[in-house]
C-alpha cells in the first residue's frame, strides 16, 4: 500500500515537472532577481558597469515607505481599483443575468459587443475612449452640445482629478466586464433546472431564490472573477498612462504601477523601482489571501 502510494507521488512529481520548470524559469527567477535588485543601489550607471554596486539592504524600502507620495499613490490605487472591481462585477453580473433571460438574437448581439470590447487591445481601447471624449473634436461633447448642453462644448474630461479617474474607470470596466459576463453566464447556465424548480416548489420568492440558491452556487466563480479583477485593476498601467498623459495634471492621477514606471525606468532608479514591485507583489498576495480566506469562512 505504502509502496504504491510512493509510486503515485513520484508519478505526480514527474507530471508536474514540466510545469514546475516553466514556472521556475518564468516566475520564480524574475521575482528572485527583483528582490535582489531591490536590495542594491542599482541605476543605469550600475547596470552598465560604470559605477560599483552598493548593497543597501532595506534602504530602498525605507526610502519608499517614508515617502508620503508613495502612501498617497497607494491609497489612490486601492480606492481606484476597488471602484473598478465593483463596477466590473456589477456590470458583468447584471449583463449575465440579462443574457440568461434574453432571446437568442439580442443575446448574440450582446455577446458580440462584449467580445469586441474584450478583444480590443488596451492601447487601442484607451485611445478610442480618449478620441470619443476629446475636448474639441470628441463625439461625446459634440452629442451633448447638440442636445442643448452648451457648456459641454470644449469641456475637458481629463482635467479634473475625479473626472479623469472616472473616465479611466469607465474604460477599464468597459474592457474587463466581458470576462465576468462570460464566466457568470456559464455559471448561471450550469445551475440545474431542478434546483430552481425545487426552490419554486418550496415557495421561495424570486429574490430568495437569487440570494439563497443561485448566489451560493455561483460563489466559487464569483470568487475567481473577483480575484482576477483585483489583480488586473490593482496593476493597471496602460489606461492611466495613455488616457491621463502619464499621470494627469501635476501627477494627480498616478497609480502605483505608473509611479513605479516613473521611478524605475524613466528615472533609471531600478533598485527603487524593484522595491515598489516587491511591495506590490506582497500586497496583491495579501489581498488575495485574505479574500480567499474570508470566502472560505462564509461557506
Amino acid at each position: 500500500m505504502a509502496f504504491a502510494h510512493r509510486r503515485d507521488g513520484r508519478a505526480a512529481l514527474l507530471y508536474l515537472l514540466p510545469a514546475a520548470v516553466v514556472l521556475l524559469a518564468l516566475l520564480a527567477y524574475p521575482i528572485y532577481q527583483l528582490v535582489v535588485i531591490s536590495l542594491y543601489d542599482y541605476g543605469q550607471p550600475q547596470a552598465s558597469g560604470a559605477a560599483p554596486l552598493v548593497f543597501l539592504g532595506v534602504d530602498n524600502y525605507v526610502t519608499l515607505l517614508s515617502d508620503p507620495r508613495f502612501w498617497d499613490v497607494l491609497l489612490t490605487t486601492v480606492v481606484f481599483a476597488a471602484v473598478c472591481v465593483v463596477g466590473t462585477l456589477l456590470v458583468g453580473t447584471a449583463l449575465a443575468v440579462l443574457a440568461n433571460r434574453a432571446r437568442t438574437v439580442p443575446r448574440t448581439l450582446l455577446f458580440l459587443a462584449a467580445l469586441g470590447a474584450w478583444a480590443t487591445p488596451t492601447m487601442a481601447g484607451s485611445y478610442v475612449w480618449l478620441f470619443l471624449f476629446d475636448q474639441d473634436f470628441g463625439l461625446v461633447n459634440e452629442a451633448l452640445g447638440s442636445l442643448g448642453f452648451d457648456g459641454m462644448r470644449g469641456h475637458s474630461w481629463t482635467f479634473e482629478r475625479f473626472s479623469a479617474f472616472g473616465l479611466v474607470a469607465a474604460e477599464i470596466i468597459w474592457c474587463s466586464f466581458p470576462f465576468v459576463l462570460v464566466t457568470m453566464y456559464a455559471g448561471i447556465k450550469a445551475i440545474p433546472g431542478e434546483v430552481i424548480e425545487a426552490a419554486a416548489l418550496d415557495g421561495a420568492s424570486a429574490r430568495r431564490t437569487a440570494t439563497a440558491v443561485i448566489l451560493p452556487i455561483l460563489r466559487p466563480l464569483l470568487m475567481i472573477a473577483t480575484i482576477q479583477s483585483i489583480i488586473w485593476d490593482f496593476k493597471v498601467f496602460t489606461q492611466i498612462y495613455v488616457m491621463t498623459n502619464g499621470g494627469g495634471v501635476a501627477g494627480q492621477n498616478l497609480v502605483l504601477n505608473v509611479f513605479a514606471y516613473q521611478k524605475a525606468f524613466a528615472g533609471e532608479q531600478y533598485g527603487l523601482g524593484a522595491a515598489i514591485g516587491v511591495v506590490m507583489t506582497v500586497l496583491l498576495l495579501l489581498i488575495t489571501g485574505l479574500y480567499v480566506r474570508a470566502q472560505r469562512g462564509v461557506r
Partner: protein
C-alpha cells in the same frame, strides 16, 4: 521537516551572498581595433525623415568610397523610445552601435554610464573644431571632457500671427510683462484664440522665463548641485510663466498638459496668436494653417531691448565607448558632423549648424533665421549637466510645479519649495 529548514537556510544564504544584480563589463583591454567591416550608426527618426536620409546616404556613400571594406549601416530610432535603446546598448556592449546621434540634455546621464568615448584629444587635433561656437561645444562637455561633435543646435524664439496683430493694431511685445498683457488683450478680443500657446509640460519655454528673471533651477556647489528654483528670482519667473496658463490667456483645461510640440501644433493649426517655437519647428508651422501669416522675434526679456536667455538645445554625434572601430567611427563623425554635411543638413532639414562660419553663411540668405541667431548670440543657457537631471526630468518636477501653480493647487512658494526638496534629494544621491 529538518530537510526543509536546511533548504530554506541554504536558499537564504544563496540570496544573501551568491548573487548580485547583473553588471556589464567595461573591460576593453585586449580588444583589437578593427579597420574594416560594418560600421553601425544610430540616428534619430525625424518627422520628415526622407530629407535627412538623403543627406546621410550621401555621406555614407562618400565614406564607403574612401574606406575599402567598410559598410555603413544606419538605423533610425524614434526619439521617444531612445532611453531603452541607449540603456540597452550600454548594458549589452555587443549589441551597441559604433556611432550615435544624441540629445545634449542626455549627455550627463550617458557619461555616468560610460556610454560615450572621450573625444577631447581627437577634437583638439581636428582643425575645424576651432570654428565651433564655444557655448555649443560646452553642451558636449562634462567635467572638462568632450564626448561628441555638436551636429546642430535648436533655439527657441517667439512666433506671432502678423494678421491678428495687424487687425487688432498691436505691436509685438518688447518685454515679458508686455507679452502677458498682449496675450490677454488678444484673447479678450478673439475668444477662439489662445493669447499664447504654451503648456505645463513645455519645460524649454519655462526656462527662459526663469533665466530672464535672473533665476535658475539649480547651481553647482563644488562637486554637487543645489536647487535654486525656490529663490525669489526663480519664483518670479515661474509664476510669470504659470500666469500664461490661465482662463484669459491659455485655459488650464487645455494648456496645463501641453508639451512643446503640442503648443507649436496649436499655433500651426491657427488656434493661438503666439507661441514659443524653435527654428526646427519652421516646417511644422509652414505645413499648418498659418503659413505666410506669422513672423518671429527673439523672446523678449524683462527690460525693453533685452532678450530672454534661450535654452541651448541641440544634438551631438558621438562614438560609443564600447566601439571596436574607434578610428573609423571618429572619421565618420567628423565627416557627417563636419562643415560640408552640416550645411547640407541645413539645406535639407533647416537644422542650425554649429560652426560660426557656416552659421553666418546660411543666415546671410535666410531672414527667417535672424531672430534665432540674435538669440544665440545674446547668450544661451543650459540645464544642470549632472546625471541627476535625468531623474528630475523623468519625475516631471518642473512641469508638476508649473501645473500646481497654474491650476491653483499650491501657491508658488509652496510648489517651488517642494520642487527644490525633490531636486536636492536627486542631487544628493
Amino acid at each position: 521537516m529538518k530537510f526543509r529548514r536546511t533548504l530554506a537556510v541554504a536558499a537564504l544564504g544563496a540570496l544573501a551572498i551568491g548573487c548580485a544584480p547583473p553588471q556589464a563589463s567595461n573591460d576593453t583591454s585586449g580588444q583589437s581595433e578593427e579597420t574594416t567591416g560594418e560600421l553601425r550608426v544610430w540616428l534619430f527618426q525625424e518627422a520628415s525623415n526622407a530629407a535627412k536620409e538623403a543627406v546621410v546616404d550621401e555621406a555614407k556613400a562618400e565614406f564607403e568610397k574612401a574606406h575599402d571594406g567598410v559598410t555603413v549601416n544606419v538605423e533610425y530610432l524614434p526619439v521617444d523610445g531612445r532611453a531603452s535603446r541607449f540603456n540597452g546598448a550600454f548594458n549589452d556592449k555587443a549589441s551597441a552601435p559604433d556611432v550615435a546621434e544624441f540629445g545634449n540634455t542626455d549627455l550627463a546621464g550617458y557619461t555616468a554610464s560610460n556610454g560615450f568615448a572621450d573625444l577631447t584629444a581627437d577634437l583638439g587635433s581636428w582643425p575645424d573644431s576651432k570654428d565651433l561656437v564655444p557655448e555649443v561645444l560646452d553642451t558636449a562637455t562634462v567635467d572638462g571632457k568632450t564626448y561628441g561633435i555638436p551636429w546642430y543646435t535648436g533655439t527657441r524664439a517667439l512666433y506671432y500671427r502678423t494678421d491678428v496683430f495687424t487687425e487688432l493694431g498691436l505691436k509685438p511685445p518688447a518685454t515679458l510683462d508686455e507679452l502677458t498683457a498682449t496675450a490677454r488683450q488678444i484673447r479678450a478680443a478673439k475668444p477662439d484664440l489662445y493669447g499664447i500657446a504654451v503648456g505645463g509640460k513645455y519645460q524649454f519655454a519655462l526656462l527662459p522665463y526663469i533665466w530672464a528673471n535672473g533665476g535658475d533651477v539649480a547651481e553647482q556647489d563644488g562637486e554637487t548641485w543645489k536647487a535654486t528654483i525656490d529663490s525669489a528670482a526663480a519664483r518670479a519667473g515661474l509664476s510669470q510663466y504659470a500666469e500664461l496658463i490661465s482662463e484669459d490667456i491659455c485655459p488650464p483645461a487645455a494648456c496645463a498638459q501641453l508639451t512643446g510640440s503640442q503648443s507649436v501644433a496649436a499655433f500651426a493649426g491657427g488656434k493661438a496668436a503666439m507661441t514659443i517655437g524653435g527654428d526646427f519647428n519652421r516646417a511644422a508651422v509652414d505645413a499648418g494653417a498659418v503659413k505666410g501669416k506669422y513672423a518671429v522675434i527673439p523672446l523678449p526679456g524683462k527690460t525693453e531691448g533685452s532678450i530672454a536667455p534661450a535654452f541651448a538645445g541641440g544634438n551631438l554625434l558621438g562614438v560609443f565607448a564600447s566601439s571596436k572601430k574607434r578610428t573609423l567611427a571618429l572619421d565618420f563623425v567628423q565627416l557627417l558632423g563636419g562643415k560640408t554635411y552640416q550645411e547640407k543638413m541645413f539645406g535639407a532639414m533647416g537644422n542650425m549648424p554649429t560652426f560660426t562660419d557656416v552659421q553666418d553663411r546660411v543666415a546671410a540668405d535666410d531672414p527667417f533665421l535672424q531672430p534665432f541667431i540674435e538669440t544665440v548670440q545674446s547668450g544661451t543657457r543650459f540645464v544642470p549637466s549632472t546625471p541627476a537631471w535625468t531623474k528630475i526630468d523623468a519625475a516631471g518636477v518642473l512641469p508638476t510645479t508649473v501645473q500646481q501653480v497654474a491650476t491653483g493647487q499650491l501657491d508658488v512658494a509652496a510648489a517651488t519649495s517642494a520642487a527644490a526638496a525633490e531636486m536636492n534629494e536627486a542631487f544628493g544621491s
